[in-house]
Symmetry: none
Subunit: 166 residues, 4 copies
């Protein structure tokens, strides 16, 4: 039995080494051209500067090309309820490759996409989510902002998006 335990220990150690190796080596994990954290932080900084300029505390969320969260910041005194909304705005914009303002216009009662907001586990269909398009004209993600009026939100999102557009 002692041998048995030793073998298990050796096997576990091998597994641990293996997984550590797997982290450091192996195939490339990210598609070339996808949004980097450095870019996302530039976006956050630009958006935050705009929010400070208009004196409205904001939640700011950035997703990459796959729609997965890359960076987030909630400014002091910003709405707790806007954590989720800012994230949903970013994901919604990337999910349909348009601003949440444009999607929202088509989702009003009587319009073609009325009711779309209950799909995808809940979408945000009001202004404040905009696409991130890089200088090669490729969509690399989206930024969502929530905390003020939707026009204020969108102005902050656009300030963020502008930071990586050119």
């Amino acid at each position: 039995m002692k041998l048995f335990r030793t073998r298990i220990a050796v096997a576990l150690c091998a597994l641990l080494l293996l997984s550590t190796a797997a982290l450091a080596e192996g195939p490339k994990k990210t598609l070339p051209g996808d949004l980097s954290l450095a870019q996302a932080q530039v976006i956050l900084k630009a958006a935050q500067a705009k929010a400070e300029a208009i004196k409205v505390p904001m939640n700011i969320a950035v997703v990459d090309a796959g729609g997965n969260l890359k960076a987030f910041a909630r400014m002091d005194d910003a709405f707790l309820g806007s954590i989720d909304i800012s994230a949903k705005k970013a994901l919604t914009a990337r999910s349909f490759n348009m601003s949440t303002r444009a999607l929202g216009a088509a989702a009003q009662p009587g319009q073609p996409l009325y009711g779309i907001e209950v799909t995808n586990g809940g979408l945000a269909i009001f202004a404040g989510g905009v696409l991130l398009v890089d200088k090669h004209n490729v969509v690399i993600g989206a930024v969502g902002v929530s905390g003020g009026s939707v026009d204020e939100d969108e102005s902050v999102a656009l300030a963020g998006a502008a930071a990586v557009a050119k």
Copy 2:
């Protein structure tokens, strides 16, 4: 130690045989006449051909008579947010045995089914989901399409459904 390993090996083999037998034998698993994968793939192919003809990248989902996903394809550049919507359109159509366009008309503000879209974990109540009816006039599932305008979506769904209607 050798005995111990042998017993484990025997137990594992017994388990494997059991599960393999369960898969291969026993009662028939599927209702006669239910949608086959071969049919679903014919539907996908016909829908995709229509989508290519109108130059709109689409998400296409096919469910069987039980409302369970049978086949799915997301064309290149099609909306990420339409994965869920195409699946919900197919499920919604089969769930109420009507097109999502017809259901949507009854779900507008002031109409009898206003608010139905929040039931069933979220329904799609705009055009693009249509029933699959076989040549014996039996509902065998539904197809849901999302990626363009709702009229474009529905035209692609109808092209898919036509492929098994006769």
Copy 3:
């Protein structure tokens, strides 16, 4: 008031044209090198051939680099409960850049990641999910298979993954 209605009609038409244009033109929607539908269908075909060879009906799901569903097939008589499992296996593999078998080993009681399966809305921590690595050694997604024993599932997933590896 007639003028008012006319203006709304004009505005809506403009919006529709705009959104149609937005679909056809604008920035590139997909990162270069991401999994294509053509590749996903080659994977499905190879996996299905393997499943037929071992006579086990399978659910097969393919996700792209962002972890979003690209293609899916449920073979006739395959488990309904494996629709979700195959999708979760594919997403889990991509989410942690390892096979679900490797992740599962670390998630056993007493192991470092015990309990990880309740995160991310539910993970699949048993064999059958494997990474898709292209010929440039970049992770471009994952394939998840469910329907037989986990060894059978994994053999089918590996057959699928092999189809785009070289």
Copy 4:
């Protein structure tokens, strides 16, 4: 028509002014001493520096005293599946005012809290979530890290927490 448009414009302005006033004035929105965004960003920076030092790309999430997300960063090539896990680790640590390592020990099979991980919409019960305690010895939030082995995760979380402990 002119009167009609004027009334709409007035109503919209009133609404905007109202919402802007609500943001700028009224009661103080945040508890004195709660985690600030500036502190959260210091934590992120310290954690990221540690992650770079040990060469493991990490997801890092920071929650405040109320358990709500304050800041987040996903380093390049870090696991997509760790977005949720890092957030859950931070929330779990603050929810029980202990490290996720400590909670996990009590949640093993046979231990008093076995099964706790399925409560609260899913908890993280492995190492990598640690409390944030300020220089006045008050819990002001938690940081959760995921991306490497749980020991690596925890070392990065501790590096982050140290940055505000004084």
